[in-house]
Point group: C2
Chain length 239, copies 2
DNA sequence: CGTATTTTTGAACCCTGTCAACTATCGTGG
DNA sequence: CCACGATAGTTGACAGGGTTCAAAAATACG
């Protein structure tokens, strides 16, 4: 169906044309419920580098990532930073059913998100078991992923961490229309951000990437691009 | 009410006398629903050291911890072990709504648990939104806790890790009937298990504990007991 | 009381962090 | 289009915290 109401711009975008309509938690809702949810939310764009939510702040917002990449991060009093997770399109962000969020949410790229006041969302979710079920599924998956990351942080060497990181990014970011072609992707991270993610310093990350390049495992066409030349070798490095 | 059917032992214990009845996810269920849930579950005891679920196995069981302490752990191919979480009485274990569990569940002490076949539990939960809500709350809390632990694994020194660990155990295990009295508790862990939890070797853990004792921050009456003499100092060490 | 297990202690080593300097890249304005 | 400064990334030297390997000490267990 083409959009016949073109020109009649509404204050809030409709869910119908939402890029993540079929993948975000909203997928479980019928049109009526979706409309009701839409009425308590709003779309917003945030710029790269902008902080959506500060660590320790009251949890006032939750929402869906429509486009772009965000990170969750925790900074200790002395300035050490640890990234806790990366959120992509269709992922759910924020802490429902809780007063505070003890991590920051920062945009790594320009991003589009669809946000809801937490209290209103909580109420809505309580009335819609299918939505809560979707949220539970997502939370369980995120917990699985986070636990996997703990193994990396607790037990892996710098080489293993960087290799595992590149492999995960290859899976999540590469547009592998062709299996035979070398994996190529643009990281939404600078070196420091990779370090924060892997629990390493920027220098160590840089050295590991240099070494992988010198060994012919990857290429780095520009600062943020990676081409995986030898996936097997990379997997071997990831342990 | 006293138990008037004493002697008529049923094959399955009732929920009425369950020690975690008010704290586990079952708390949201009315008597009728509780009875229905009870009918698909069973109580079992497991011995210290026993593995309830192996990493990579099909997720066939979920359940509540009634008594004792269990750990979730992940072992990489080369034998390195990382503990992913510690489960106490009233905690929920297992991976509902998913085919596999990619961590092991091991009893650190003799334990009592109340288990359900996963598929049957999943179905039951889908029909009981309040139960799913409780499960969601728990999962969100566990995710918060796990993310906090990531900071420890990614960014903290050995001293900070051991101190933070002892403080958390003090909060979870000490029977502090008296605020002024020094915190005292018995760890359900050996040194190796502490290492697996903190991403350190057994030797490093041992040295850190020795140092804390020499500095007069703690005492170690026996292998597994800890007395916190100077909580402020311990908090300072934890960063 | 002897053996197995756990914990502690010691010494050498090495990976990663730290500090510093250098290089490359990006963006801006002349 | 180039010059310039600002930002990001790389490289080198060095030190230190934690691991590794080895052995002794303490504790648990039969």
């Amino acid at each position: 169906m083409s959009n016949t109401t073109e020109g009649l711009t509404k204050p809030m975008s409709t869910c119908a044309d939402c890029g993540v309509r079929e993948r975000a938690i909203c997928q479980s809702l019928c049109d009526t419920d979706l409309d009701a949810l839409n009425r308590i939310g709003r779309r917003q764009t945030i710029e790269r580098g902008q902080t959506l939510q500060w660590q320790g702040d009251d949890s006032l917002l939750v929402g869906n990532v429509i486009d772009g990449v965000l990170k969750l991060s925790s900074t200790s009093t002395d300035g050490r930073d640890q990234t806790l997770g990366i959120m992509f399109a269709s992922d759910f962000i924020g802490r429902p059913f809780g007063k505070v969020t003890d991590h920051s949410i920062v945009a790594l790229t320009d991003a589009k998100i669809c946000t809801f006041p937490r209290a209103a969302f909580d109420d809505f979710a309580r009335d819609h078991p299918d939505l809560e079920h979707g949220l539970l599924q997502r939370t369980l998956t995120e917990l699985d992923r986070t636990r996997q990351w703990m193994v990396l942080l607790g037990r892996k060497s710098a080489t293993e961490r960087v290799s595992a990181f590149l492999l995960e990014m290859a899976d999540r970011l590469a547009d592998n229309d062709n299996d035979a072609a070398p994996l190529r992707f643009a990281l939404p991270f600078g070196r420091q951000e990779i370090g924060d993610l892997l629990g390493l310093t920027i220098e160590t990350v840089s050295r590991q990437i240099t070494r992988l390049r010198e060994d012919g495992v990857i290429e780095t066409p520009d600062r943020r691009s990676i081409v995986v030349l030898d996936r097997d070798a990379l997997e071997a490095c990831a342990g």
